[in-house]
């Protein structure tokens, strides 16, 4: 069983949103909601500046708080470690939306909760997620964490620095951020509150 994971090298990501648009098209994500979005954050003062471009989506947590709270089993974890939603069982109660610390889930106008699937339908055919495929800077790596030859395992090994979002919550994300531009790691909202 593969253990799918993704890594994004922030030293290369330019925040172009090709990934976000590809996701929108591939998955017919309706207007007004997103499976994938880019947070762009300015840090520092002229001329000592840094900008962090940080794409965000479901992290397919190994310990996903969104799954146990689901009353119908619509939210579940596959053997490959994907966290998915079965629309046929979802009652749109929002418990999983409340439980996700990353705002990764949204209510689909079809009356169910939806989010990034790591493009499970493409993985089934041996492909990679649409966002990974298109990324012009090639800063996204995907694959099996347990296979040392997989792009994601290699990227993690070569990275100077590896971060995950909100590690203190113990969610064990499988979306890793590599080489964050700030020495302090991933930026936090409180750092940019001055405006």
């Amino acid at each position: 069983m593969p253990r799918y994971a993704m890594a994004i090298d922030l030293s290369l990501c330019v925040g172009c949103a090709a990934c976000a648009v590809a996701c929108k098209m591939e998955n017919e994500v309706p207007p007004g909601v997103h499976r994938l979005w880019i947070r762009e954050r300015e840090l520092g003062v002229f001329p000592d500046l840094t900008v962090e471009f940080r794409p965000e989506q479901c992290l397919h947590c190994a310990n996903p708080p969104c799954v146990p709270v689901c009353p119908t089993g619509a939210s579940y974890q596959t053997k490959d470690g994907l966290v998915l939603v079965d629309p046929g069982k979802c009652i749109a109660c929002g418990a999983c939306v409340a439980a996700c610390p990353y705002d990764a889930r949204y209510l689909h106008p079809g009356g169910y909760v939806d989010k990034c699937t790591f493009c499970a339908h493409r993985l089934e055919k041996g492909g990679v997620p649409a966002c990974v495929e298109t990324c012009p800077t090639g800063c996204r790596a995907f694959g099996d964490l347990d296979d040392p030859e997989s792009p994601v395992a290699k990227a993690l090994k070569e990275a100077g620095r590896v971060d995950v979002l909100r590690p203190e919550l113990g969610t064990q994300p499988k979306l890793f951020y590599l080489n964050a531009p700030s020495k302090k790691g991933l930026s936090q909202e409180r750092e940019v509150r001055h405006d």
Binding site: A17, A18, A22, E26, E28, P136, G138
Partner: protein, 765 residues
């Protein structure tokens, strides 16, 4: 308890069993990829870079496009605009039927009736023939841009006999860099910047905001260079995305780059850091250059550029330490201040001193692929519009034909588009009475919009061929709706490249509504103009097949491969092996001193002119790209608009504070001539100098029928009521406008998502 075991327990009743089969109700419509998908090779029309793509369609709808590995432009990846571009085909606001302006209405009122193609084409042909009768064929101007522009700015005008054909992609884009390259290297830069990014070790970007400028291949290469450890210096008054990736950011005073480049030349020469062998073997004019830059010390440049002399020196030394794998890419949009050819000359000279032209890690030598034209009788004129790539053949005219109305004043062998507006107004040097605009945005691309509007009002005929009801489109006498890229064939696209290649566009489905492909429109018009000899073919398939036969291929084969890659000769070495050099200059070498410029009354060496200072209370207006938008053509595409729904005016935080503006407030921009734009959102930021403001180009649409785009943000183009002509290249320097800010109310606009949910059939016209 395990979900599944519990299920088994509960699924005992027959009802429950039935439920487990399909779910209580069909929760979700079948996704496109689970249906019968048809795939064709296509070419992206999200911008003019034209990446090779594959389009996946179900029925009459393309759901997804992808790059493919065999195509040297996309290499399997696409930029955001390319990914989102299909939405334009399914935009309810798109042009759907031929339209003729209502009798008795003025241009600009936007009142139209639906017409048949017959009627619309007859109308255009009749008026064109009348213009020719009265004023001669050159009184018809042809403006165009895009993959289909060949028919309208190259072929048709040359067959018809007008040299007044032009594209915005030269004199409002690349003219200075092309002219400088042509006269220094004897070769153009071309549509695809020939930089060997992957081997470069030290890269200096002058402006050139890669990352926001998302030309796909270039962005891929840029990232590859970074990944391989290249050091990056970015010279930009604004902390661009590229600057965020740089090891060093030089926040230069706008308009002073030539001073910086001259100082670098000074250091390279006077500190003896340049590549002496290279200069000796491949160049002429070094001594003149050396004498010229004697006084341009870093200390001198510091006063102009506000970059410390020490930093200027350090960068020059670092460049030299990495030569020949240090490179200063030319940038693309180079019409900045009106003295831009000089800046580009200086930039090339730095490169030459680093010995990188024709060497790995520097500039490679791009070559065009081999392909024959379709055999037609020789055209009376040679096309004058050119590509991005500068020279076409059209700078001389055969007996009986008038010269271009931009008076042949410029070194660009292609027409300066903005210089064709004046003759429409003044009739000098001769009248231009008619205009066909194919895929060019007259009000968003050409500076001095009031003048353009005035000129359009006076024409005898104004025709647009477009896909959207853009503001300038809704001024035309006749509007011919083109089928979008996904719905049509076009001519083969031949790309000069490290590995030259050809690519093909195949329609993914029939044109929606009553729209037609450009080739069909051009041919039908040609037949009505008595040019049938130049359109001997009947179908585009026949045309393409014949051309492909010339290289031993045929259309069916090409349809199954999309791209054909040929071999190039990228390095000086390759040429020297054949006993020659690639330089097409009079001396056959790289010219560090340009006799031709001197002979025409310009300077043979790059000169620096300090920029005009902003008037009190004003800021210099700079502009650039949004990564998810292309010029002014994508703002009605809701998928892309969701990512970046309005442009913002960037202003330094302290300046904003002085004006009482906070981040997220709205403001009007008012330029030196009193033109008011906006309201536009304020981005109060540390990421820009205090003497300038910045806007992303392409917003501020005023076309009421472009419902998504309408009223969002501000137009840089409307604020560019003046431009400074580069007398050498004919380029229109656009960064010579100044604005002040005035607080405004937040505009009330319909929500994007509700606009996005409109049905495709919503509008009949």
């Amino acid at each position: 308890m395990e979900r599944r075991t519990f299920l088994k327990l509960t699924a005992l009743s027959a009802g429950a069993l039935a439920l487990t089969q399909g779910g209580p109700a069909k929760a979700r419509k079948t996704p496109w990829y689970a249906q019968e998908v048809r795939t064709v090779y296509q070419i992206c029309e999200g911008c003019f870079w034209r990446c090779g793509i594959r389009a996946h369609a179900v029925g009459n709808r393309v759901y997804k496009v992808e790059g493919y590995a065999e195509n040297p432009k996309s290499r399997g990846r696409l930029c955001p605009r390319g990914q989102g571009a299909p939405q334009t085909t399914y935009d309810p606001d798109r042009l759907k039927r031929p339209l003729i302006r209502l009798e008795g209405t003025e241009r600009g009122e936007g009142k139209y009736r639906v017409a048949t193609w017959e009627e619309a084409l007859d109308y255009v042909a009749e008026k064109m023939l009348a213009i020719r009768e009265r004023y001669g064929p050159e009184a018809m101007a042809f403006f165009g841009h895009g993959t289909g522009d060949f028919w309208f700015v190259d072929y048709l005008p040359a067959a018809w006999g007008s040299p007044n054909a032009a594209k915005p992609s030269v004199s409002i884009c690349t003219a200075p860099r092309e002219v400088a390259a042509q006269w220094i290297f004897g070769r153009p830069i071309g549509g695809h910047e020939p930089i060997d990014w992957e081997n470069a070790r030290y890269i200096v970007l002058i402006g050139h905001h890669i990352g926001e400028d998302t030309h796909n291949t270039q962005l891929q290469d840029f990232a590859l260079a970074l990944k391989r450890g290249a050091r990056l210096v970015v010279v930009d008054p604004r902390f661009s995305t590229a600057a965020a990736k740089a090891h060093l950011w030089l926040p230069i005073k706008p308009g002073t780059d030539t001073a910086l480049l001259l100082a670098w030349i000074h250091v390279l020469i006077y500190e003896d850091l340049y590549d002496k062998d290279y200069v000796a073997r491949y160049t002429v004019g070094f001594e003149e250059l050396k004498a010229h830059v004697k006084g341009f010390t870093p200390e001198w440049a510091e006063k102009e550029t506000e970059i410390p002399a020490e930093t200027i020196r350090r960068v020059a030394r670092e460049m030299a330490a990495h030569k020949p794998r240090a490179v200063l890419p030319p940038g693309r949009h180079t019409v900045w201040y009106g003295d831009d050819t000089y800046r580009m000359m200086a930039l090339y000279y730095v490169n030459v001193l680093l010995g990188n032209y024709g060497r790995p890690g520097g500039f490679y030598i791009a070559q065009s692929p081999y392909l024959e034209k379709y055999p037609t009788p020789p055209l009376p004129l040679e096309p004058a519009a050119g590509g991005c790539a500068g020279p076409s053949g059209g700078d001389h005219e055969p007996e009986g034909f008038r010269p271009r109305a931009d008076k042949g004043r410029f070194f660009a062998r292609t027409t300066a588009i903005q210089e064709l507006i004046e003759p429409m107004l003044t009739g000098k040097p001769y009248p231009i009475r008619g205009l066909i605009a194919y895929g060019i945005n007259l009000f968003h691309s050409i500076p001095n919009v009031p003048r353009t509007k005035e000129a359009l009002k006076g024409l005898d005929l104004y025709v647009t061929i477009d896909v959207l009801p853009q503001e300038h489109v809704m001024w035309a006498d006749v509007i011919l709706p083109e089928a979008t890229y996904l719905e049509r064939y076009d001519d083969l696209v031949a790309v000069a490249h490290k590995t030259p290649f050809l690519q093909l566009r195949v329609p993914a489905h029939e044109p929606l509504f009553d729209t037609k492909p450009g080739w069909w429109i051009a041919r039908e018009l040609g037949l009505r103009l008595g040019l049938e000899a130049y359109f001997p073919w009947k179908t585009i398939e026949e045309y393409l097949d014949t051309r492909l036969q010339s290289i031993g291929l045929d259309l069916e084969t090409m349809k199954s491969m999309g791209t054909l890659v040929q071999k190039g000769k990228p390095w000086l070495e390759d040429w020297e092996k054949e006993g020659r050099l690639p330089f097409g200059t009079p001396s056959g070498k790289i010219e560090l001193y340009c006799q031709a410029f001197k002979a025409a009354g310009h300077q043979p060496l790059p000169v620096y002119t300090p920029p005009e200072e902003p008037p009190p209370g004003h800021y210099r207006l700079l502009y650039g790209r949004s990564p998810v938008h292309t010029f002014a053509r994508t703002q009605n595409n809701w998928v892309l608009m969701e990512m970046d729904p309005e442009n913002e005016v960037w202003i330094h935080r302290e300046e904003a504070q002085k004006l009482g503006l906070k981040n997220g407030d709205y403001a009007y921009l008012i330029n030196q001539d009193g033109v008011k734009e906006g309201p536009v959102r304020v981005k109060a930021t540390e990421r820009i100098r205090k003497d300038c403001v910045y806007l992303v180009h392409g917003f501020g649409h005023k076309a009421p029928l472009m419902r998504v785009a309408h009223g969002r943000g501000a137009s840089d183009s409307y604020l560019q009521t003046r431009y400074r002509l580069d007398p050498i290249s004919g380029g229109a320097g656009l960064r010579v406008n100044f604005v002040r800010l005035e607080k405004a109310e937040r505009p009330h606009l319909p929500a994007l998502s509700s606009l996005a949910r409109r049905p495709l059939e919503e509008r009949r016209m």
